[in-house]
Structure formats: C-alpha cells, structure tokens
C-alpha cells in the first residue's frame, strides 16, 4: 500500500495527550510515526492550518438497511459519514427485520464491505425481534461482531429484562445503549412539553419521561455492575443524574446529539417536521446543561442519532411525521460553531468526544493515532465557513433543520486504513 505523509497539521490525539503541529506518517494502512519525517513517500498531503485527528466515530447512526432503503442504505449512509469526517459508525439495529441474528450481523458486514467506505460496527438488539420480551442471542451476536446492544427507537421497557441484559453483558464487557423514555408520559407527544407545546396545542413529551428512565437504568447499572450508556441525553435533569452516578462510581457513560446542544423547542414555532425528533428539542436551560456536561466530561461523547426519512414521509402534518433528523454531515460544523468557537470546549476535548471516547465506549481499536494503530484519520479545516446545502448531502434523505445555516469547521479529508476515502 505504501506510505502517506500528512505534513504540518495540528495533530490532536487525546489518547496520547498529543496536541502539536507535526507530521504524521502512515505506512501500509497503519500509523507509522508522529514526528518530522525524512525521505520520500508515495503520497503526501499538506495539512498546514488543519487539524489532524484520529478518525471520528459516530456511535449512533441509523443506516436503515435492511428494510427502509428508501430512506438510506449502508452505502449512502456511510458515504455521508465520510463526507462528515467519520471513519467509523455504529449502526443501530432498529431495521426491518431488526439485527438480532448472526446472519443479520453478517449481512451488514457484507454490505459494508461491498460499499468499501468507512468502518461499520454493528449494534445488536437487546431483545429478540426488538420486542422487549426476552433477550436476543447476545452471545451469538457478540461472536458475530456486535460491539454493543440496544433496542433504540424504543426503551427496554421491562425493568427485569433490562436488569438481565446489563448483567448478562458483563460477560462480554459490552455496553447497553439505552433510549430513555417512559412511554406513558409521551403518548401522543410531538415536541417537548413546555411553553411552546402549550402555545401550539401540540402533545408534549415532558423532561420527566427521560429523567425517570435514566434514574431507573442507573439504579439497575448500580445493582448489576453492568455497563450503561445513556443515548441522546436531552435534559438538564438527565445530565445531573449521569454526573452523580459517575461520582458514585457506577459504570455509566452518555452521549449528546448536536441538535440538542444547538436548537430549542422554539424552533418548532414554524411547525417544521425537520425539527421533530425523539427525544425532542428542549429548552435553553437544557441546552446549557448539555454543553456544560460535554465540557466537564459528564457527557462522554457526541453522537448524531443520524435518522434519515424520505422526503415524502416528513412532508406530513407535524404530529404524523416520523421522529428523527440527519446528523452525519453537519456534526463537525455544529460542534465547532456551537462549542469550540464560543470557547465552551477546546479542540482536544472535542476530538475526544468525537473519536477517542466513543471508540473506548464501544471497545473498538479506533480513536487513536498511536503507532501501529489502524490509520483512520480525519483532517479538519477548523476555520472554514460554509453553508449547509442539503441537496449536496451524500445521504439519501434531506431531513435536516440546518438547511441554509452558516457553519464553521468541516472535514477536508477522511482517511480509512490509510486510504483517502473522501477529499474536499
């Protein structure tokens, strides 16, 4: 495969505590060295003014295949990932059929290999058929390559089943990725329950619906010693619970989505179904708590909850349109614009949240530029200002509320195992 030299970029690798301008040499698909390189190379890349990061990892992506290829496929979704700077995604198993068999895991791996884009790590179902009644074949799924387990799209409703899942997964040291929602409290809900839902006459989803379930699952993690990962935390109360659980030594991690640190429920005033997702956009105080949680490490990582829906599905009455928005191609821009540019977090923390931390949570050998590691690398232009244009997205869908937004920061090269897979 030969050598690739990335010259003169600001190399940030939280896994080694590196943050300096230097050269990075890749040989035969693995990181060879960081430091001034001498001698000729097959390929070289001028990264001056750029940030050179371990490849970004999005641990919460809905690729929709199999079953809903009209929204996204493994190929289009992973192309969107590359364009967004992600070298790895973890795909959530709420497909049709759900990923609850070894054959289904094999299908994803095969499709991903054929697409030849970024790494696709498979999340398996917690429960058979994602029905919430009995455990899926977690051991078999793990053997087939599943890196975590989740019934996302819905919570694991039966507390005893959740307890057993947390307990059982200790055997493989893999996390349960939990969608936290008390369904009785969100029935008929469309947006966050607050002043906006009241004024618009829309069904509300109270913060308590998330907080109660986070509380339950933290208690179950404490009593089992299992690994709980709280997906898309959206409430100030949820952030506080995770912070307190970590202080008590409970094995809990958490992620936040870019839209939850960017928008509030005020964005729903125009009844735009591209602002509808679950958990919903909350209040300014919740946004502030999420940013603070990302800054102090309570929230370990940023994940997009990339949820494509074909245009005709979103072009419906707000209460009938499905939940979910795109995330992959706007994640860096929103994180830089909302978090780094205003000085809320620094670059090393952002790279940690987008790469090193999610790789660690999933237990995958990524998120590092240590010599010998697979050369997954993202080169980011931290200062470029660009306008979001959904028609240029690689995703098959266009359901983004950020159409037309000016954002700062964007991936300019995405390198997977030493090969430049995307170049802007």
């Amino acid at each position: 495969m030969g050598t690739l030299l990335i010259r003169g970029g600001r190399i940030i690798d939280p896994s080694q505590g590196i943050d300096r301008v230097d050269d990075l040499l890749v040989r035969d698909g693995v990181v060879a060295s960081i430091g001034r390189a001498a001698g000729p190379t097959d390929e070289s890349f001028d990264a001056s003014g750029m940030i050179v990061s371990p490849g970004l990892v999005d641990m919460h992506v809905h690729l929709r295949e199999p079953g809903r290829e009209e929204d996204e496929t493994i190929e289009t979704g992973t192309r969107a990932a590359l364009a967004g700077g992600f070298t790895s995604v973890a795909c959530i198993p709420n497909t049709e059929p759900p990923i609850d068999t070894q054959a289904a895991v094999g299908f994803i791996h095969q499709k991903a290999a054929r697409a030849d884009t970024c790494n696709v790590f498979v999340v398996g179902c917690v429960s058979r058929d994602r029905a919430g009644r009995e455990l899926a074949d977690i051991g078999g799924l793990f053997e087939a390559g599943a890196v975590a387990f989740s019934d996302d799209g819905a919570p694991v409703y039966d507390a005893e089943l959740m307890r057993r899942a947390l307990e059982y997964c200790r055997m493989f040291d893999v996390p349960i990725l939990a969608h936290e929602e008390v369904l009785e409290l969100t029935r008929g809900g469309v947006i966050h329950e607050g002043l906006v839902s009241l004024a618009l006459g829309l069904g509300g989803m109270p913060a308590a619906a998330e907080e109660i379930m986070i509380g339950r699952d933290i208690a179950l993690a404490a009593c089992t010693g299992g690994r709980l990962h709280v997906m898309h935390v959206s409430t100030a109360g949820g952030v506080a619970q995770v912070r307190e659980a970590k202080a008590r030594g409970i094995r809990v991690t958490a992620e936040a989505c870019p839209h939850h640190f960017t928008l509030t429920d005020e964005a729903l005033r125009g009844f735009d179904s591209n602002c509808k997702m679950s958990p919903p956009l909350r209040t300014a105080a919740d946004v502030e708590a999420i940013i603070a949680g990302l800054a102090d490490g309570t929230i370990d990582c940023i994940a997009t909850d990339h949820a494509p829906h074909a245009r005709e599905k979103k072009m419906l009455e707000l209460d009938r349109a499905p939940f979910g928005i795109l995330g992959l191609e706007t994640a860096i821009g929103l994180a830089v614009t909302r978090l780094v540019a205003p000085g809320r977090i620094d670059w090393p923390r952002l790279i940690d949240a987008l790469s090193t931390a999610p790789a660690r949570i999933l237990g995958v050998p990524r998120g590092t530029l240590r010599p010998g590691a697979v050369a997954d690398i993202t080169v980011i232009d931290p200062d470029t200002n660009w306008q979001v244009d959904v028609s240029a997205f690689r995703s098959k869908s266009v359901n983004s509320p950020f159409q037309g937004w000016m954002l700062r920061g964007r991936a300019v090269a995405t390198i997977v195992a030493g090969r430049v897979k995307f170049r802007r």
């Binding site: 029935r187 008929g188 607050g194 002043l195 009241l198 004024a199 618009l200 006459g201 829309l202 069904g203 125009g270 009844f271 005709e312 072009m315 419906l316 009455e317 707000l318 209460d319 009938r320």
Partner: protein, 322 residues
C-alpha cells in the same frame, strides 16, 4: 365600501391570531362590523367576491363552522366548493398537501382548512399560492372563532380594554381558548383561564394570562365568561375523575350566575354539552350571547374572506403571514 377594494391588509393568509398585531385584529373586527351593517345583519348579499372560488377543505367533522364559512362566501358573491374527506383521495393514500395542490390547480382563490393536526394551515400556506384561512387546526388555533367571540364582546361593551374575560373549561385541548387568549390580550383585556390543573397549566401565566382553579372565586370579577367544551375526543386519558365531579366544580349554573355581576356576558363556542359546561337555564338566560355569536361568526368570516381574497390585483399578491 363594499364596492371597491378592501382596506389595506398585508397578509394573504389568516393562520392564527398569535402573530397578528392589535391593529390588524382591530381592522378585521371593524371590517366585520361594516359588513354586518351593509348586509342588514348578514342577511343580504353583496358582490365583492363575485367570480371568486372559495374551497372549504375540511379534514375534520364540522357542521357549524363549515356552513358559516360557506354562507359567508356566498353572501359576498363567491362560489363555494365543499371538499369532503370521505369522498376524497385521502382514503387512497394521497397526502393532504397533494390534495390541496390538486384543488389549487383547478383555479381557486382561497382555501378554508380545518384539520386535526396543529400547524396544518401553516404547512399548506408554504405549499400553496392561494390564500389559506385556518378554520381550526387541532388544539392550536381557531382564529375566526376567537375573532367572533371578541366581536360579540366588543359589540355589547364597546371596547375590550380593561374588560375581564374568564375562559372556563378544557383550556389544554381548546383552539378557541388559544385564539381568544391572544386576541383578548392584544386588545387590552384581562384573561383568566379557569379549570382543573390537569386542563389549565400554570405555564399560561408566562403568556400573560391569569390562571385559576376556582370558578366560584373568579365569577364576581368577570365581565365575560366563555364556557369551553370538554374535548373528550382529544384527550388521551380522562383529566378528571368523572363528568359529575367536573360539572360540580366548573359547570356554570343558575346559582353561580346569581353571584356574578348583573351585566355578565355568557359566551360559548358550541356545540355545548348541557349539564357539563353549563346548565340549560344558563344557556338560555338573558346574559347569554350564544346566538349572537352565530350571526357574528358570519360577519367575521365575511370580513376575513374579503380581506384575504378580495379585490386585489394578482401582482400585489406577495408575502404572507408566518
């Protein structure tokens, strides 16, 4: 006045009262008043909208509002098409936006839309080039109902400023409550929302309303009581233990009426559940303006139709509310 162009109105749609100014609401009310007078109490016909076609696009059952809009359009000389959902393509899976676009392609001038989903008129307004009038979008707003309630109060009292209006009942699920609230507050009235805490959130105070859970306490302070229907069909779960308990706390009765100011006005948007929101003696008492509301509904809808799709050259059709 009805021979020429309507007064200056900057919106092509009427989607809600929340985003209208006091002056714009005043213009709507004044126009309705003048039309009511010019038509001898909405009984005679004008030709202001001759040659125009108004479509009643009702995705939710309605008899009174649909009839009122149809009659209002005809009183102004417009043609009216009633679009019925049962006979529509919706049963075949066509989206409501496609349905509306098809109707638009037939050369219509305005769409009066009722739908169970909040924001549907706003969505249509983004996709259609003709005027869109909201005839009720779920629990969100029902601007012409709000206007006709306010019109009826103003007709009796002259002005809304300083007037105390109690809205009683199922505030949570009531589009009438929301339109009344916005309109009344903008015109300087004091608004008290009254009902059990499961139907009246304290958050309404952030919008400038007073919130009470004690009907008996507010009755002596009110100049107007607007008794809203319990929207059983919109409730996921019963927000009170029984209708009997609700009625004992919040039904307007003859006995409660005796503790009110003698000049209290009683409004109800209807249809009313006699015995739930009010007893029969209250519905038919001299303070009741319930039947005035029906006539005034015609006047208000004539005003709205005239302003939104009246004599206006196509070239000036631009912008829009929202």
């Amino acid at each position: 006045m009805t021979d020429g162009s309507p007064p200056a109105w900057e919106h092509r749609h009427l989607l809600d009262l929340e985003r209208l100014s006091a002056a714009e609401i005043g213009l709507l009310l004044d126009t309705a008043a003048r039309l009511k007078e010019a038509t001898n109490g909405c009984r005679t016909k004008l030709s202001a909208l001759a040659g125009r076609t108004v479509v009643n696009l009702f995705f939710e059952n309605s008899t009174r509002t649909r009839t009122s809009f149809a009659l209002a359009a005809r009183r102004l000389g417009a043609d009216v098409v009633d679009f019925s959902t049962s006979a529509s393509s919706l049963a075949k899976g066509e989206s409501f936006i496609d349905t509306a676009r098809n109707l638009e392609a037939m050369g219509i001038d305005a769409v009066v839309v009722r739908h169970a989903s909040p924001g549907t008129p706003h969505l249509l307004a983004r996709h259609l080039d003709v005027g869109v009038i909201n005839a009720g979008d779920g629990p969100h707003e029902h601007p012409t109902q709000g206007l006709l309630d306010i019109f009826s109060i103003r007709e009796r009292r002259g002005s809304l400023a300083g007037c105390t209006v109690g809205l009683v009942g199922d505030i949570a699920h009531s589009r009438t409550a929301r339109s009344n609230l916005h309109g009344l507050l903008k015109l300087g009235a004091r608004v008290i929302l009254c009902g059990p805490p499961t139907l009246v959130s304290p958050r309404w105070q952030e919008l400038g309303a007073e919130v009470s859970h004690d009907l008996d306490a507010i009755i002596p302070r009110c100049d107007v009581l607007n008794l809203l229907r319990i929207q059983f069909e919109r409730q996921n779960t019963r927000p009170f233990p029984s209708v009997r308990e609700y009625a004992s706390l919040y039904a307007m009765t003859g006995e409660r009426l005796r503790r009110a100011r003698p000049d209290l006005l009683i409004l109800a948007p209807g249809p009313i559940n006699r015995g739930v929101e009010m007893t029969a003696d209250v519905a038919d008492c001299p303070q009741s303006v319930i039947l005035d509301q029906v006539t005034n509904g015609l006047a208000v809808r004539m005003g709205v139709l005239w302003l939104t799709c009246g004599a206006r050259p196509a070239a000036t059709v631009a912008g829009g509310q929202g």
